[in-house]
């Protein structure tokens, strides 16, 4: 008991400063934050609780790599109270941060292997952290492929960065669900892209993040490419309040997404009926 009391954690936000805002799409912007007193010290795939005093808190993935010094990025979609209010902020504003929380992508398991990153919609936000990490340590990874799906060309996230990623010997494939005539790329669901790439089941790991509906289709396709469940990582979203395994909101059966996730190795959750 005294141990628990001694190392207990409070729900106090730490102060960060909004350094820059970059609009990305009609609904999403990229916010660059600085913490005055410390580095965030996160792993790719982890998240923070972001808050404005009197308005509320929301869990947001960290969209930049810990290898980039000075601050961190959050890619935030307008979805309600807190996220709308953050979109109204100007550089110089103060934002509360708790975290980082959760388990991110196990980088060690990706090193020395082929990496296939599959991002649907806003799922590219947390994966950008991993992508930046890979571009900063490119030689530690074998072939790297990024498959990106979005509803329309206008809702694609970070299109201006794909060139830089490609220049680091990374294959980037993009598809959209619907497009106008001006779009020259792929049209169709993201699973189509999986058929088009090389997958060596022994030496490949795949990391997937997207809307809930995407996972089942992507997993079926990856299974058809003979990728084993223990070579697949999924980043899952659930409602979250505490980030500390207490409030119960994020539970998938007996697991807490905020502690044991949000990134899970697929074989560890495949048997859970509430996971996908």
């Amino acid at each position: 008991m005294s141990d628990a009391a001694g190392s207990a954690v409070d729900y106090l936000p730490e102060l960060s400063t909004l350094a820059a805002v970059r609009p990305l799409t009609a609904a999403e912007s990229l916010f660059h934050l600085d913490m005055p007193h410390r580095a965030l010290g996160h792993h790719p795939g982890q998240f923070v609780q972001v808050s404005l005093p009197g308005i509320g808190e929301a869990p947001i993935s960290i969209a930049s790599s810990p290898t980039r010094p000075a601050g961190f990025d959050l890619c935030i979609r307008r979805a309600g109270n807190v996220t709308e209010a953050i979109h109204r902020l100007k550089p110089g504003a103060k934002i509360g941060i708790r975290g980082p929380f959760g388990r991110g992508v196990p980088i060690d398991d990706c090193m020395g292997r082929n990496v296939v990153i599959i991002a649907g919609g806003l799922g590219l936000a947390p994966l950008r952290s991993l992508i930046q990490y890979i571009t900063d340590h490119r030689s530690r990874f074998k072939a790297v492929t990024i498959l990106i799906g979005a509803r329309t060309p206008e809702t694609l996230l970070f299109p201006d960065e794909y060139g830089a990623w490609r220049s680091r010997d990374i294959k980037v494939e993009v598809t959209v669900d619907v497009s106008k005539e001006t779009w020259l790329g792929h049209v169709g669901v993201i699973t189509n892209l999986i058929s088009r790439i090389d997958v060596d089941p022994d030496t490949t790991v795949s990391i997937v993040c997207g809307p809930p509906i995407m996972y089942r289709f992507v997993l079926r396709k990856l299974a058809r490419r003979n990728l084993q469940n223990d070579h697949i990582y999924l980043s899952l979203e659930r409602r979250m309040k505490c980030g500390m395994g207490k409030c119960g909101h994020c539970q998938i059966n007996g697991l807490y997404v905020c502690l044991e996730g949000p990134v899970f190795r697929y074989d560890r959750i495949a048997h859970l009926p509430e996971a996908l």
């Binding site: 628990a4 009391a5 809307p211 409602r239 207490k246 119960g248 539970q251």
Partner: protein
């Protein structure tokens, strides 16, 4: 184990001593029922209480509390200090002692919950053995929480003329010797004590669940259509989780206070039975159906949290939730049903085989 004797007429003087050093909580009568609350006048203490509407959990996890105050101008923030003295809980029944032990596990798993432990730290806990069943809905004996257990400093067992008190730990010894109100337990008290304990075992020898297989039974029954039938009686009101000594789920809301100068981060009890509990932005609801939510609660109580903390079961059988529930839904019903589930499935399959003209055992 050290036993002392406390004469009946020393109970109030003892309560008064504790009330001077601690914020004193105990069972008291209120509006035709019993409540566990902070009591200033210790003569209101009712050690003859049956059970309380709410468990003593609220002493450490209040229905609503402020987690942080944030200055809106400067963003300076702090957590509120504990209000003065530590808490003494007097007269906690065994089920609720076990309930406190389970709360400690849930709130103590790293990262431990600081607001809870600020209230919980240095609390002095006095247990009180039950010699009779408090209400028909309770099933403490089924989950084996009718015996003393959990984090008590003193455990009172009623005997003729007073209580035999088991002391535990440094605080228990210290408070007992400083009070000067206890007597050495003589041979006759000890005999009386053993008899009372035997009587307790006989009184609480009702149903017993197969605790060893409870969590696997429940997990196996996950896909059973029976959960939907059970949920026909559920109104998603959340009364069950509010009265539960082991439910910890909460909501956090930030609010403006003090004429817009300060913001307060408040937490309040929440319930996994409420419709939007697992809903996220974009409208996805991960437990949309009432049956999914009811099943989730029973799984938490019988499998998930038990497994997480290496216990056979997380529910302590206090009976409060079936008592409070409009549909009289009891975890015992779910636990017992889960045991039958594989047998029922087997019988079903047998019927199917016979129908198909095959009589083969699997």
């Amino acid at each position: 184990m050290r036993l002392l004797f406390l004469p009946e007429n020393h109970v109030l003087p003892l309560a008064r001593l504790l009330a001077a050093r601690y914020r004193f909580w105990g069972p008291a009568a209120k509006g035709g029922a019993f409540v566990f609350e902070e009591i200033a006048d210790v003569s209101r203490l009712r050690l003859d209480y049956s059970t309380t509407l709410l468990p003593p959990k609220q002493a450490f996890l209040p229905p609503r509390e402020i987690l942080a105050r944030i200055d809106i101008e400067t963003h300076e923030c702090r957590s509120p200090a504990r209000p003065g003295k530590p808490i003494a809980l007097f007269g906690v029944h065994p089920c609720d002692l076990h309930g406190l032990a389970h709360l400690d596990l849930a709130m103590g798993e790293p990262p431990a919950d600081a607001p809870y432990w600020r209230a919980r730290k240095d609390a002095f806990i006095v247990g009180l053995a039950c010699v009779q069943r408090c209400m028909p809905e309770s099933f403490c004996d089924s989950v084996e929480s009718h015996r003393a257990g959990g984090p008590f400093d003193w455990m009172f067992t009623p005997v003729a003329g007073g209580y035999v008190v088991e002391l535990r730990g440094e605080a228990g010894e210290r408070e007992a010797s400083e009070s000067g109100l206890f007597e050495v337990a003589g041979e006759s008290w000890k005999k009386n004590y053993d008899e009372t304990r035997d009587r307790i075992e006989k009184t609480f020898s009702g149903r017993r669940l197969n605790l060893a297989s409870l969590s696997s039974d429940l997990e196996r029954s996950f896909q059973d259509g029976w959960w939907e039938k059970l949920a026909d009686r559920c109104f998603s009101c959340g009364a069950c989780t509010a009265v539960c000594p082991t439910c910890v789920c909460f909501d956090v809301q930030d609010e403006i206070a003090e004429g817009c100068r300060m913001a307060e981060r408040c937490r309040s009890w929440d319930s996994c039975l409420i419709r939007n509990f697992a809903e996220v932005a974009g409208g996805e609801n991960f437990r949309k159906l009432r049956s999914e939510r009811l099943r989730h609660r029973m799984m938490r109580q019988g499998a998930y949290l038990a497994g997480r903390f290496g216990l056979p079961v997380f529910c302590v059988g206090c009976g409060r939730c079936p008592h409070a529930c409009l549909g009289k839904i009891s975890p015992l019903e779910a636990f017992e049903h889960s045991r039958k589930f594989p047998i029922r499935r087997y019988a079903q399959r047998l019927v199917e085989h016979i129908k198909n003209g095959v009589t083969r055992h699997e």
